[in-house]
């Protein structure tokens, strides 16, 4: 490759492409154009003339100088290209980081939306509790029309107070997330008990629904899965597909190690002399 080609390639490598529209947008309506070959030829001519004009070095030395300059030039071009490649890689990595950040921001938005939805659910549950309390309180007020009631439904004020207390406790338990305390009041009125059960059932339903959304509701354990069918072929004595092998005649290597009696004794002591 001669110096002419080197200069041309270097010029091409360092140049950028701009469309006519880009130039127009920069306010340029006319540009001067020169071919890379002309520039290379001018550079070569200038160097040769300058060197020949000094009369200080011979033609051979000029050629050697030119060759060395060409090599130097090639090295510089290669180095610049490596720098450009590294820069491009860094830009790509930066883009990837930006994309990841956008993705994480989107995830964060989803989590915040979920949180808001759960907050709304909680408020709704609290409103429902208030409604139930109001209904319960209204039952204590004298009603103009007869209301169907369970037998022996005398509204003892002390029982009403007890009911109100229980509802307040239920509400507190729902806020705290603790299980409802067992209530076994002797002499509790059947009608009041039924109302409490209904209230508790409604609250439980709401808690369950809330819990499922939060992912903390306990699922009902199903039956343990039986994997026996997976081993039918291996353990079917009559199967013609039983694997042929020499395993019965090859003994596994066994090794003797220290006993575990000390461990067992300690463990039994820990468990209370088992």
């Amino acid at each position: 490759m001669d110096s002419f080609t080197d200069v041309k390639e270097a010029l091409v490598a360092r140049s950028t492409v701009a469309s006519i529209d880009d130039l127009k947008s920069q306010g340029r309506s006319k540009v001067k154009v020169i071919k890379a070959e002309h520039i290379a030829a001018m550079v070569r001519e200038a160097v040769e003339n300058a060197v020949a004009g000094t009369g200080m070095i011979s033609r051979e030395e000029v050629d050697m100088l030119v060759e060395r300059s060409r090599e130097e030039f090639r090295d510089i071009v290669a180095e610049r290209e490596q720098q450009l490649t590294r820069l491009r890689d860094a830009v790509t990595q930066l883009e990837e980081i930006k994309v990841e950040r956008v993705r994480l921001q989107a995830s964060l938005q989803d989590v915040l939306a979920e949180r808001n939805s759960l907050r709304d659910e909680l408020e709704h549950s609290a409103t429902r509790i208030a409604e139930l309390e109001e209904q319960l309180a209204n039952q204590t007020a004298p009603a103009p029309a007869p209301v169907a009631a369970a037998p022996s439904s005398d509204m003892d004020p002390s029982l009403v107070m007890k009911l109100m207390t229980e509802v307040a406790e239920l509400k507190a338990n729902m806020s705290a997330g603790t299980p409802q305390p067992q209530q076994a009041g002797p002499g509790a009125d059947e009608g009041i008990t039924a109302a409490i059960d209904k209230l508790a059932g409604t609250l439980n339903d709401r808690l369950e629904k809330f819990g499922r959304k939060m992912g903390i509701s306990s699922a009902v354990e199903g039956q343990q899965v039986n994997f026996d069918a997976l081993f039918e072929k291996e353990f079917d004595q009559d199967s013609s597909q039983k694997l042929e092998s020499n395993m019965d005649s090859v003994q596994a290597k066994k090794k003797q190690e220290g006993g575990i009696s000390a461990n067992l004794e300690r463990l039994r002591k820990l468990k209370g002399g088992g």
């Binding site: 343990q224 899965v225 039986n226 994997f227 026996d228 997976l230 081993f231 072929k233 291996e234 353990f235 694997l243 042929e244 092998s245 020499n246 395993m247 005649s249 090859v250 596994a252 290597k253 066994k254 090794k255 003797q256 190690e257 220290g258 006993g259 575990i260 009696s261 000390a262 461990n263 067992l264 300690r266 463990l267 039994r268 820990l270 468990k271 088992g274």
Partner: protein
């Protein structure tokens, strides 16, 4: 001792079973029933008590290799006492022999398990594991003999589920005439190595597919988790870096490296990934302690017991102590040691659990 499953006499054996002690009496001596089984990604190990009160362990590589099926090969394998099965019209060599042959032929072994659990990608996993487990466990000494088998804890860094794995092996052991019960792998290390500390401390099991951790207080596990990095992770990364097969990396690792003082490029790569594994596990234990609820308060220093085949490499404990010294651990630690029998520690711990029973 749970004797509910040992009410039947074992047909064909000249033994009687004592229902109150869970022992089987042979001709002259009593043998305590119950076996321990370490179902590891790289190795399977079984432990049982023998007549002399010692422990007999059987270890087999959890791998198999397909080779061409012909009469000559079959005869040679039989003469050389290499275990094989005929499967899908081919010969399948099982266990340690498979690993040796793979390195001779320049092939990779097939692995029934991956990352601590039964491999979903290996279609022949189940029949091969059945063979290997049957080989290491042998026949039950009494019908329904209890076998406590190791299971990993849920992983912090990958999405895995142990339920299928556990159920599968319970069924498999049932088919072999045993009663299988699962035990956390690192908890088994606590049983086998921390007896002197009243089973309080930290048990770590460095296996092929995973590293498991268990913090226990008086034998009760307070914290158990695993990370999906183990010996296979080291092998894969070393193989990638060096441009070699994974089984070759395993061979390099197992032939006698000292990770404190690597001698060449291969050993350097192995040492780097070992340090990374240890550091990763310690950081996760620390994080779980700092963020976990209901963690015990250890006022006295507790010991850390390391076990598992991956911890067998030379210099492991020294490097572990190095990495431990770099972090500010939230609880006081006394000794850091590796089990004398690191490869079989989990199986021995399972045996302790089986011998004690429920």
């Amino acid at each position: 001792m749970n004797t509910d499953d040992r009410n039947e006499e074992w047909d064909g054996h000249d033994t009687t079973t004592d229902e109150t002690t869970g022992t089987t009496t042979g001709a002259t001596t009593e043998v305590a029933l119950g076996k321990g089984l370490d179902i590891g990604t790289a190795n399977l190990a079984a432990a049982e008590q023998d007549e002399s009160g010692g422990v007999t362990v059987t270890v087999e590589r959890n791998a198999f290799l397909d080779i061409d099926a012909d009469a000559y090969s079959k005869n040679m394998l039989t003469k050389l006492k290499v275990p094989y099965v005929v499967h899908n019209n081919g010969l399948v060599v099982i266990g340690e022999s498979a690993f040796e042959l793979a390195n001779v032929f320049g092939k990779e072994t097939r692995r029934p398990m991956s990352d601590g659990l039964i491999s979903p990608n290996e279609v022949d996993a189940l029949p091969m594991m059945t063979m290997i487990i049957e080989k290491v466990l042998g026949k039950p000494r009494a019908q329904g003999e209890a076998v406590y088998f190791s299971v990993p804890a849920e992983s912090l860094d990958v999405d895995n589920n142990v339920v299928y794995h556990q159920g599968l092996f319970e069924s498999l052991l049932g088919k072999l005439g045993y009663t299988g019960k699962a035990l956390n792998e690192a908890h088994a290390v606590v049983f086998s190595e921390l007896a002197e500390n009243d089973f309080s401390g930290i048990g770590l099991s460095f296996g092929g597919g995973m590293a498991n951790a268990c913090v226990a207080y008086k034998s009760i596990p307070c914290l158990s988790f695993s990370v999906a990095r183990g010996g296979d992770w080291i092998d894969s990364n070393v193989a990638n870096v060096l441009g070699i097969r994974r089984s070759k990396a395993t061979l390099l690792k197992e032939r006698g490296v000292d990770i404190r003082d690597p001698k060449n490029r291969e050993e350097e790569a192995i040492a780097i990934y070992y340090r990374n594994l240890i550091s990763y596990l310690l950081e996760n234990i620390k994080a779980r302690f700092e963020h976990g609820q209901n963690m015990p308060n250890f006022n006295e220093p507790v010991d850390i017991a390391c076990a598992g085949g991956t911890s067998l490499v030379g210099g492991f404990i020294e490097v572990f102590r190095d990495e431990f010294a770099k972090i500010d651990f939230p609880i006081p630690i006394g000794r850091i040691f590796r089990a004398d029998e690191a490869l079989t520690s989990v199986a021995r711990g399972c045996l302790v659990a089986a011998a004690i029973g429920d």
